[in-house]
Symmetry: C2
Subunit: 479 residues, 2 copies
């Protein structure tokens, strides 16, 4: 017996093999178990795997933090490259966007809301969406609306407290811009010989005028400055539609309508009324027609998705007809993605995204103010601290745009002054204002903002040292 | 030594354990290896996995082949259900769509192109797309176009031979319907006191009139039947824009413009000019402005994606301006998905999708003709066999719609005749034609088609047995 229980050398080898084999098995089993728990249910991926791997592959292409590669990027055939290339931020170049381009013009013109991009890369898992080939192929139902998305949008307004949506209708549109047009059509008198006048207050978002002028209708035309209609004798016989952006683009002011009366209707463009950009009042906005957009909420301008909150059923029905005849509804892909993004925005009762957005924009505003504080040549709009019912705290300003004024008598063309310093803003005249003003976009990428600050610093230094030459191409990238 | 080499019982147990352990090791390793090879590269999924699993989970919900569950479906909170529910085809119900609804109206009204849905479920892997949270957040570039998508669209036209795209401009739009409006605006005289007239030939797609009427512009108005302008003395002093749908909706005829002259422009709606619906001519279409859509190419109506092929640069520029002012471009999600779908359509040089589409629609057309062949009460449009340069063969017709005529003197309201048999078509008057005509959509789901045939069979039987009562609710589902 004693001899039998003695373990012989061959047996030692077997044991030597068994132990690691069991360890390897335990590793596989634990890893599988872990993988299975990544999302509730035991799922071995099949048809979706290719798309998922492709997306991760493209996401892993390094662009030095100054650009991104996209799934639908055009690989350069000249380079024999099959992967999509890095698409670099303005002023950056090279295959991996690591080079700063000399003599480059800083772009702070459009309101491309890339300031939220880092939030989405941080929330990669929760924000991804997989579209199957058969996802909602048909035209949408009569209302063109994904019910689930509408429900989540109402929930978000409830949590933020920025708009009344109970007992209100919601219409979806291809961005808030389509809904603006839909609302103007809907509020114009249906049977009148004289067109309604679409009026605004300077400074106003320029597309209001260009869109109204372009779609020259029998029902409405652009009527200019709202306040001029106040004491106008024609005002009582004219149907007026006042467009109010609040907070305002370009200057961030919380505007209210100027005109009132039985023949006046107002459309409130509320796309900036989120805690990123402004304090939220304790009383939620409750206007007849309010416009919102994914672009300014989550930063997804490219999705072209907006919604209107509407009190009156007839106006709502007309707006639906408009969207239906104009584009037969809204992309189902955009709606599916919007749903996922709104779900993420709802996480932590909205605190995650709005704190990120607010922190980014208020830092930028402070930095810009600091840069211009020593300047007597340039000034910014005045915005004060306010109590925000969403954050339940007094908070400093965090506007999406700077409304810069050139104070020197001779700097009548402020755009040209900035252009000389290689900064491309947007002319005051686009907003119906004097050319002494320029809008600088603060919602773009960190690169755009940092480069703008760098150039502004040079401009301000020039005030003290007029011999300083503004050399293009001496950018230093911000972190 | 002999004793030492004898394997003792404990050692037997160890060997007994080692062999299966190694087999399990090999299984894990091979499985991993297999998984790694599923898509080129060794990819362990991370952030995209949740979205992929979620999509597969929803796709696996069984709806008995008579419906589908969608990622953005609204779970019924009343049932305490957290999964999205089955959304059943018309006339089917129950939690898994297995019940036929009694007394139900068969819907063959709209052109919802579900006939291609089975193609996409068969091509699940190649057609899936994963959208990251940061995919193309910004407004698009100046032309609002994904270059890679444009390139693939040109390639598809080249392969199919249905349109000249070399040295032509391409504009993207929110469905071809937005581009129709853009083209009308672009072709209208820019500085004329009298609006252009938008003219058509009966029967025409009804939205042409409703859209033109709704967007009552200073630049254009609806001008009715094109042929009436032929000998009209005003015709030479009026700018005319003729809308030509070819193949035509509703009757599938390859139409040509009726009017010619220096003051006449034509917009060709070519959305049905694909081998699914008609033979392709050996000379590719080469009109000034041609409209196409994803809806009729791949069946994705819900994506709202179309494109125009345009000869003249000025017209192209104006159309871009239109899309820009109307909706600031097209959803980036829709563009990404369109790219993936067009890539799949290009597989096998287009043979896969077009053979599938043609087979389905030509079968439906044959079946419908067979059903009505014994009827003297109903007739269909005449369509003959034609040589198709794409299939390089003579092929029978496969139209998207049946243009049904009620032949009996008393059946002046053909829509009502069908309605009584629980078939909902689209009234002839919607197409500017007599009420003696009704359009029946043949591009919808197999269920809709089968139920329609079932009801038509009953209607035709009634001709021989007038006492037969058309009982609603006696449907038998087709396979």
């Amino acid at each position: 017996m004693g001899k039998d229980t003695k373990i012989n050398p061959a047996c030692n080898v077997v044991i030597f093999l068994l132990v690691p084999s069991i360890i390897v098995n335990i590793f596989f089993i634990l890893r599988d178990h872990d993988e299975i728990n990544l999302w509730d249910g035991r799922w071995q991926l099949s048809w979706s795997r290719r798309a998922a791997v492709e997306a991760e592959y493209v996401a892993a292409i390094s662009c030095s933090g100054h650009g991104k590669a996209y799934l639908d990027g055009s690989p350069s055939l000249l380079d024999g490259n099959k992967s999509p290339p890095c698409e670099c931020n303005t002023c950056f170049g090279g295959p991996d966007c690591s080079q700063i381009l000399p003599g480059c013009v800083v772009d702070v013109d459009s309101g491309n809301p890339y300031f939220l991009e880092p939030f989405w890369t941080e929330n990669a898992e929760s924000s991804a969406v997989l579209l199957s080939g058969w996802h909602r192929m048909g035209y949408a139902s009569s209302t063109m609306v994904t019910e689930e998305l509408e429900k989540h949008i109402r929930e978000l307004h409830e949590i933020v407290g920025n708009a009344v949506t109970k007992e209100r209708f919601i219409v979806f549109g291809v961005g808030s811009i389509q809904l603006l047009s839909a609302a103007i059509h809907a509020l114009s008198p249906q049977n009148s010989s004289s067109p309604a006048r679409v009026v605004v207050s300077v400074p106003y978002y320029g597309t209001y005028k260009s869109q109204t002028d372009y779609f020259e209708s029998m029902k409405f035309k652009f009527g200019g400055e709202a306040s001029l209609w106040k004491n106008n004798s024609d005002a009582n016989n004219t149907n007026l539609i006042e467009l109010v952006t609040s907070p305002n683009n370009p200057d961030g002011q919380l505007k209210k309508s100027v005109l009132h009366g039985p023949n006046v209707k107002a459309i409130y463009d509320r796309v900036y009324y989120w805690p990123h950009f402004t304090a939220i009042d304790s009383a939620p906005a409750n206007e007849e027609v309010m416009l919102f957009s994914l672009s300014k909420l989550t930063g997804h301008a490219g999705s072209r998705f907006g919604w209107a909150v509407v009190k009156d059923e007839e106006v709502y029905q007309r707006m639906l007809t408009h969207v239906s005849l104009n584009t037969i509804g809204i992309s189902r892909e955009a709606q599916l993605r919007a749903l996922q993004l709104v779900k993420v925005a709802l996480q932590g009762n909205g605190k995650d995204i709005f704190e990120f957005g607010y922190k980014t924009l208020s830092n930028r505003w402070e930095k810009l103010n600091e840069t211009l504080s020593v300047s007597s040549r340039f000034s910014l709009q005045k915005l004060g601290a306010q109590y925000c019912s969403f954050f339940q705290a007094v908070r400093g300003p965090s506007p999406g745009y700077a409304w810069l004024k050139c104070e020197r008598e001779e700097d009548k063309d402020c755009y040209a002054v900035l252009e000389e310093a290689n900064i491309k803003g947007r002319r005051g005249s686009v907003f119906g204002a004097e050319e002494r003003y320029v809008r600088l976009s603060l919602v773009r990428s960190q690169d755009d903002f940092d480069l703008m600050i760098h150039q502004l610093n040079k401009l301000v230094s020039q005030e003290y040292n007029p011999k300083l030459i503004l050399e293009p191409g001496t950018f230093v990238s911000g972190s």
